[in-house]
């Protein structure tokens, strides 16, 4: 297997390997750059950004649950201006495609964010219509098929150069929304965002997250995410980016067999900042061990159906 064998395409976007960081688990690259060479990643998916800076939610924001965690960070972010002025130039020091994850409280905010980031030259824009942790916008688009389709189409019209990825919530039928994303002009869909979840301390009777409900991630969600990637990939012709509990190469292969063209490593980065590189290596080892020449040959190759 050559390095070329790991290349994948997301529409017009070519990636040197199929492993991305999941938005919100890698910041803007500054911290992970202390651990490894960011150019080793297939793409760097940035922490979600909004037009104005957002403060985020009060603590506690996270709690561990069996084989996973619940978070409610609340999209704390630096806002578009600081992103363009400081964060994007920083990550440009590495030869890695940048995927900007955007979040607005209404359609106009999404459109402005997408237009400015497209202008700034990011390789892809990921439309976050699936965050469970903010009050307005976001997931409300991800759960209503009409406003969802209108939003994707409106953003598509503004985005001239970047690839457009739509990130889906597991809290809606993913086949229906994936199909609508494709029909509205998306180049790819990514899923799953976290699953709305609740954990309670039985001694204090308080929720373990200050905001009560947060989003579940980690190995606990993986079989659900694999099922949803399978359903979404069967519903669309555009590529699917699979994520949800990936912590090793075997997990990534499973997503690809279910239909994912690329994968993202998320909260496993919290456990181990080197996790994305280990996943890349282990995918390579799997291919080598089985004489697989091109990683795209694994996509959708689940047997026996």
């Amino acid at each position: 297997m050559t390095d070329r064998g790991l290349q994948v395409r997301l529409g017009k976007l070519k990636l040197k390997n199929p492993v991305l960081t999941a938005s919100g688990t890698a910041g803007y690259g500054e911290e992970l750059a202390e651990f490894f060479d960011l150019s080793k990643l297939g793409a760097m998916v940035m922490k979600g950004i909004s037009l104005q800076p957002w403060q985020g939610n009060p603590a506690p924001r996270i709690t561990e649950t069996p084989c996973g965690m619940i978070n409610s960070i609340g999209l704390q972010n630096v806002g578009l201006d600081v992103f363009l002025r400081e964060k994007l130039p920083f990550v440009r020091q590495w030869d890695v495609p940048v995927i900007a994850n955007i979040l607005g409280t209404d359609a106009n905010e999404y459109i402005r964010l997408a237009a400015e980031l497209d202008e700034a030259g990011v390789e892809a824009i990921e439309l976050n219509v699936s965050c469970p942790n903010i009050k307005k916008g976001g997931i409300s688009f991800g759960r209503d098929i009409n406003s969802f389709s209108r939003l994707v189409a409106a953003v598509r019209r503004k985005v001239k150069n970047a690839a457009l990825i739509v990130k889906l919530t597991p809290d809606a039928p993913v086949d229906v929304f994936a199909r609508a994303a494709g029909e509205s002009g998306a180049d790819a869909v990514s899923l799953i965002n976290t699953i709305p979840a609740l954990a309670i301390d039985i001694n204090t009777r308080r929720p373990l997250i200050k905001n009560v409900i947060g989003g579940l991630s980690g190995p606990a969600v993986k079989p659900i995410a694999v099922r949803m990637v399978y359903q979404a990939s069967r519903a669309v012709k555009i590529p699917v980016i699979g994520m949800g509990g990936i912590s090793c190469g075997a997990d990534a292969i499973e997503f690809m067999l279910a239909g994912a063209t690329a994968v993202a490593v998320g909260s496993a980065i919290f456990r181990d900042p080197m996790a994305p590189l280990k996943v890349i290596e282990e995918i390579g080892a799997y291919m080598k061990g089985r004489g697989i020449k091109s990683v795209s040959g694994i996509t959708g190759a689940m047997a026996g159906r």
């Binding site: 919100g24 688990t25 890698a26 910041g27 500054e30 911290e31 992970l32 202390e34 651990f35 800076p53 403060q55 985020g56 939610n57 009060p58 603590a59 506690p60 924001r61 996270i62 709690t63 561990e64 069996p66 084989c67 996973g68 965690m69 978070n71 960070i73 704390q76 980690g218 190995p219 912590s247 090793c248 909260s267 980065i269 919290f270 456990r271 181990d272 900042p273």
Partner: protein
């Protein structure tokens, strides 16, 4: 960050401070509170674990400048101030609080590391009856607070009370952490300039910078 060799359950690493450092070993002092610390009690010599560190900042000792250092520790918070007592070369007065006498560890050793040791227990079973913050307040009575610098580590309630003493100094914040390296934004500490990260911007913050509920 300390992780057991279980990549799925428990899932995340846990934050601890270095308690004692020797040539080739690090001691971690912990209280058994949940899944990870319970499993840690089953570790035996020769077992392996994943450790990533050191991470975050330390108590600054440069700013002491003729002021008398007061070190305040609540419960297992003694672990983070233990090396500080050494850095302050025995000049600090240590106030060490717990619920009962049984919660107070290594008192003989701590006495030799400090210029004075005041124990405080809520039930009065050892030393001052009340919280360690109450004991500091009693100690400061009638004295000029500007002559002191305070370092505190313990539960959030204690840090809040310590911040209200009117003495300059530093507190080590305690929040749940997922990553320990600043990417998850889980360990949010509220400050006048917005949320900061206990893991990367702290855990030590100047008194007054952390806003409590």
């Amino acid at each position: 960050m300390f992780g057991l060799n279980s990549r799925k359950d428990p899932f995340l690493k846990r934050p601890f401070c270095y308690f004692r450092k020797k040539r080739n070993t690090i001691d971690i002092l912990y209280r058994v509170v949940g899944k990870v610390t319970t499993l840690m009690t089953g570790l035996r010599a020769g077992d392996t674990a994943e450790v990533m560190g050191p991470l975050g900042n330390c108590y600054p000792v440069e700013g002491v400048e003729g002021r008398k250092p007061i070190v305040l520790a609540g419960g297992v918070g003694i672990a983070s101030v233990y090396p500080l007592l050494g850095a302050l070369v025995g000049k600090a007065h240590l106030f060490y609080g717990g619920r009962t006498a049984r919660d107070l560890l290594l008192t003989g050793e701590l006495e030799s590391l400090s210029s004075g040791l005041t124990l405080a227990t809520e039930d009065g079973s050892a030393g001052f009856r009340g919280t360690a913050v109450d004991a500091v307040r009693a100690h400061l009575k009638g004295r000029d607070k500007r002559d002191f610098i305070l370092y505190a580590c313990g539960p959030n309630g204690m840090l809040k009370a310590a911040s209200a003493l009117g003495v300059d100094g530093y507190i080590a914040s305690e929040e749940k952490m997922a990553c320990g390296i600043g990417v998850c934004l889980g360990c949010a500490v509220r400050t006048p300039a917005g949320y900061k990260r206990a893991c990367k911007d702290g855990p030590v913050f100047p008194i007054g910078e952390v806003l409590f509920d």
